[in-house]
C-alpha cells in the first residue's frame, strides 16, 4: 500500500497537496484501521498527492480536553503544531470527526492554522472535481441509514457531504427519527469512550442502535471510528450481526468497486 510519510516526501523535496491525519483510532484500533486503509485506497485511486505523519503523529488532545485536562490538551496541540508547521502543512484531511473538530477549531488560536476537512467533505470534493466516480456496485439497492457523528454534525454543521456520497451509491437512504441536528449521540464523545458509563438504566449505544434498527437498514453508515465502535457494539448487543453491517462511508465507496 502506497502511504508516503511527510518525512519521506520532504526528503525527496516534495510537498503533498494534503496531509492525511490518521488519528489514534485509525492507527491502532483494528476496526478503524480498515477505514484508514479504505480511505487510502480511494486517495491512491484518485491519484491524490497525500502524505501521513506516521510515527510523528500524536493524539490531537481531544479526549484530554473534553475530560477537562486543558494542560495535556495544549501540550499535545503545541507539539503537533510545531511538527505541522515545520512541514508547512496547509491542508489536512482526517477520517475522525474528533480530530477534525480539534484541528479545525481549537488549533488556530494556538498557532496552527490549516484548512481542515473531514474525509466525507474531501471525498465529496474529489467527486465534484471528477477525480473519483461512485457507483453502487455491490451495495446497489440496499437500505442505508446514516448516523451523524456529533462532532461532524452539530459541532460543525456538516450534514450533507456524507449523505450526498451515500446517495451516489444508488441505495435507499433512510433517515432515523433523530437525525442531522437532532441526531442522538452514540455515547462515545466527551471522553466517554475511555471510561465506564455512569450509573443508568441503559447504554447509549443500545438506545441509538435500536433507533437505527427501527428503519430496518441493511447497513448503518458512519463517519467516525468511535461511532463505528459503539454502533457495532449495539449491533452485537441486539444480536443483529447477521443482518446489519456497520460501515464507514470510505469503506462503502472503496468496497463498492472492490478497491
Amino acid at each position: 500500500m502506497n502511504v508516503p510519510t511527510m518525512a519521506e516526501m520532504t526528503a525527496q523535496g516534495k510537498q503533498p497537496d494534503v496531509l492525511f491525519w490518521v488519528g489514534c483510532a485509525g492507527s491502532f484500533d483494528d476496526r478503524a484501521k480498515k477505514i484508514t486503509k479504505a480511505f487510502v485506497k480511494i486517495l491512491n485511486k484518485a491519484n491524490v498527492e497525500f502524505a501521513v505523519l506516521g510515527t510523528e503523529e500524536s493524539c490531537t488532545g481531544d479526549p484530554a480536553k473534553r475530560a477537562g485536562n486543558e494542560f495535556l490538551f495544549q501540550m499535545q496541540a503545541m507539539t503537533n503544531i510545531e511538527i505541522l508547521n515545520a512541514y508547512e502543512v496547509k491542508k489536512i484531511v482526517t477520517a475522525c470527526p474528533h480530530c477534525f473538530n480539534t484541528l479545525k477549531n481549537e488549533y488556530p488560536q494556538l498557532g496552527g492554522k490549516y484548512e481542515v476537512m473531514h474525509h466525507t467533505e474531501f471525498l465529496k470534493s474529489l467527486l465534484d472535481e471528477g477525480k473519483i466516480t461512485i457507483e453502487g456496485g455491490k451495495f446497489k439497492g440496499k437500505r442505508i441509514t446514516f448516523h451523524d457523528p456529533c462532532y461532524l454534525g452539530r459541532a460543525n454543521d456538516v450534514y450533507e457531504a456524507p449523505r450526498s456520497l451515500i446517495e451516489k451509491l444508488e441505495v435507499e437512504l433512510v433517515e432515523m427519527k433523530r437525525c442531522k441536528s437532532d441526531g442522538l449521540c452514540c455515547g462515545a464523545g466527551g471522553a466517554q469512550m475511555f471510561k465506564d458509563a455512569e450509573k443508568g438504566d441503559k447504554e447509549i449505544y443500545v438506545e441509538r442502535t435500536e433507533e437505527a434498527l427501527e428503519v430496518a437498514p441493511n447497513i448503518i453508515a458512519t463517519g467516525c471510528p468511535f461511532c463505528n465502535t459503539m454502533i457495532t457494539d449495539g449491533i452485537k448487543a441486539t444480536n443483529q450481526e447477521e443482518s446489519v453491517q456497520v460501515l464507514d462511508i470510505a469503506e462503502l465507496i472503496a468496497n463498492a468497486e472492490d478497491l
Binding site: 500500500m1 484530554a64 477537562g68 499535545q76 455515547g187 466527551g190
Partner: protein
C-alpha cells in the same frame, strides 16, 4: 373631583416599578459576579441572532405544537401590553379609555386585544393540560418537584386570571356603554366580551361599575405583581431571552475555549530558553483557579444563562445521558447554577460582601457523577430555544476536578497517562503508528 384613586394608582405604580428596578439591579449585580468574556464583537450578527431566535422564536417551533402555542401567548403578551399603557394613563389622570380618540383604529386595537386574550387563555389552558393531564415527561423529571413545578403552574394561573379579568372588565364596560353610563365613553369593539356581557345584563349600573372597576384594578394590580414575581421565577426568560441570544456563542458548537492561563504555562514549559529557576515576578497576579468550582468561577454569560432558563426541559429531553437514566440533566445544571448564584447573592445582601459559607456549586449542588455522564454531544445546546449552553458549565467543572483536584474517573486517568506517555489514549507505542500500512 376625587383624587384618591389617582393617588392610590400613582403609589401602586411607584411601588410596582420600584421593587422591580431594585430586584433587577440585584440580578445584574449577581450576573456581574461572573468572569469576563468578550461577547461584544460582531454586533450585526448578534443582533440578527436575537431578532431571529428571541423575537422570531425560530428555535421554539422545532416542536411545533408547543412552539405555536408559545408564539400566541408571546404575541398576546406583547401586544396586549399596549393596553397597559392606556391603563396607566387612565389611572394617573382619571381618564377613561384615553386612546379612544383614535376612533376606528381604537376599535380595531381593542377588538384585536380581545381575540388575542381569548387565544392566550386557550393556549395557557392547553399548556396546563399538557403539563398536568398529558403529563409530558420533560415536565416531570425529578428536578421539577416542589417549587419548580408550582412556579410553572402559578405562571399559568396568573395568565389565566389576567386574561379573564381583561375580558370581564370589557364585558362590564360594554354593558355600561349600552346604558350610556356617565364617564363610560362609547368606544372600542368587543368581539369576545360581548358574549360575556349578557351574563351581566341584569345588573344595575352601580354593580356594573363595581365589577368594571374591580376588574380594572385587579388587572393592573395583577400585572404589577406578575412583574415582580419574575425575580423569583423561571419566567424571567421573557426579558432575558433577548440579551441571552444576543450574547450567545457564535463559534462552531464543537469549539471549546482554550484556557489562556494554561497556554502561558505550556509555552513556558516548552520554551528551551526559559530559566526553570527564575524567581517569579512579585507583582504578578496569583494564577487563576483552573476551571470552575463555584459560580464566581464561571463567566457572566453562563450566569445569565442560568437566570434565563425557563426550565422547559427540551435540553434534558434530548440528552443521551438523561434518556438512558443517568444522573445528568442539562436543565438541572442550569437550575442548580441559578440556585447557588441566588444563595451567593443573598449572602452578599446580608453581609455586604460574600462571606465564605463553606459551600460551592460543585458537590454541594452539582455532583461529579452528573458531569461525568456528559458526552459533550451538544444536543442540549442545539435544543435550547434561547441558546443556553449547559455544556460549557459542565466542561468548566470537569476542568476544576481534573486540573485542581486530579479527581478524574479511573478510566480517564489511564487515558491521559497513555496520551502523556505514548501520544495515544491507548497503550500503544508511538513508533507503531504506521504499522497498519503493512498489515
Amino acid at each position: 373631583m376625587n383624587y384618591i384613586d389617582n393617588i392610590a394608582f400613582a403609589i401602586l405604580l411607584i411601588i410596582g416599578i420600584g421593587f422591580f428596578v431594585k430586584n433587577s439591579k440585584k440580578i445584574v449585580r449577581n450576573i456581574k459576579l461572573g468572569k469576563k468574556i468578550d461577547r461584544f464583537d460582531l454586533s450585526n450578527e448578534r443582533f440578527k441572532n436575537m431578532l431571529k431566535i428571541a423575537l422570531g422564536q425560530s428555535k421554539m417551533v422545532k416542536r411545533p405544537v408547543a412552539g405555536i402555542l408559545h408564539i400566541i401567548v408571546y404575541a398576546g403578551f406583547i401586544i396586549i401590553n399596549i393596553e397597559v399603557l392606556e391603563i396607566i394613563i387612565d389611572g394617573l389622570f382619571g381618564t377613561h379609555r384615553v386612546f379612544s380618540v383614535l376612533g376606528g383604529f381604537y376599535s380595531f386595537l381593542i377588538g384585536s386585544f380581545e381575540i388575542l386574550a381569548l387565544l392566550v387563555l386557550a393556549s395557557v389552558i392547553i399548556f396546563w393540560i399538557r403539563r398536568m393531564v398529558l403529563q409530558i415527561p420533560r415536565f416531570w423529571n425529578k428536578e421539577m418537584k416542589g417549587w419548580p413545578k408550582n412556579d410553572a403552574l402559578y405562571i399559568l394561573y396568573f395568565e389565566m386570571v389576567l386574561m379573564s379579568l381583561f375580558l370581564i372588565m370589557n364585558a362590564a364596560d360594554y354593558n355600561l356603554q349600552a346604558l350610556n353610563a356617565d364617564h363610560y365613553t362609547i368606544a372600542g369593539s368587543f368581539p369576545i366580551s360581548q358574549f360575556i356581557a349578557p351574563l351581566l345584563s341584569n345588573l344595575s349600573e352601580t354593580s356594573l361599575i363595581v365589577i368594571e372597576r374591580t376588574a380594572w384594578w385587579l388587572h393592573i394590580g395583577g400585572i404589577f405583581i406578575f412583574l415582580n414575581y419574575l425575580y423569583y421565577s423561571k419566567h424571567l426568560h421573557i426579558l432575558l431571552a433577548f440579551p441571552n441570544t444576543y450574547f450567545a456563542n457564535l463559534k462552531p458548537k464543537g469549539q471549546l475555549t482554550n484556557l489562556e492561563a494554561v497556554t502561558n504555562e505550556v509555552k513556558l514549559m516548552m520554551d528551551p530558553s526559559a530559566d526553570p529557576y527564575a524567581v517569579p515576578d512579585e507583582n504578578a497576579a496569583l494564577p487563576d483557579k483552573f476551571g470552575a468550582s463555584d459560580v464566581a468561577d464561571l463567566n457572566w454569560v453562563q450566569l445569565m444563562n442560568a437566570y434565563t432558563c425557563t426550565e422547559c426541559g427540551r435540553c434534558t429531553a434530548v440528552c443521551p445521558a438523561n434518556i438512558t437514566g443517568k444522573e445528568l440533566s442539562p436543565r438541572a445544571i442550569m437550575m442548580k447554577t441559578r440556585d447557588r448564584l441566588e444563595e451567593v447573592g443573598a449572602n452578599i445582601d446580608k453581609n455586604g460582601k460574600f462571606i465564605d459559607d463553606d459551600k460551592q456549586l460543585l458537590n454541594d449542588y452539582i455532583k461529579a457523577e452528573e458531569i461525568w455522564a456528559c458526552t459533550s454531544c451538544n444536543a442540549c445546546v442545539e435544543a435550547c430555544p434561547v441558546n443556553i449552553d449547559p455544556l460549557s458549565i459542565i466542561i468548566d467543572l470537569r476542568r476544576y476536578l481534573v486540573m485542581e483536584q486530579s479527581a478524574a474517573p479511573q478510566g480517564l486517568n489511564m487515558m491521559m497517562t497513555n496520551i502523556e506517555n505514548n501520544g495515544a489514549p491507548w497503550q500503544y507505542n508511538q513508533m507503531d503508528r504506521l504499522n497498519w500500512k503493512d498489515e
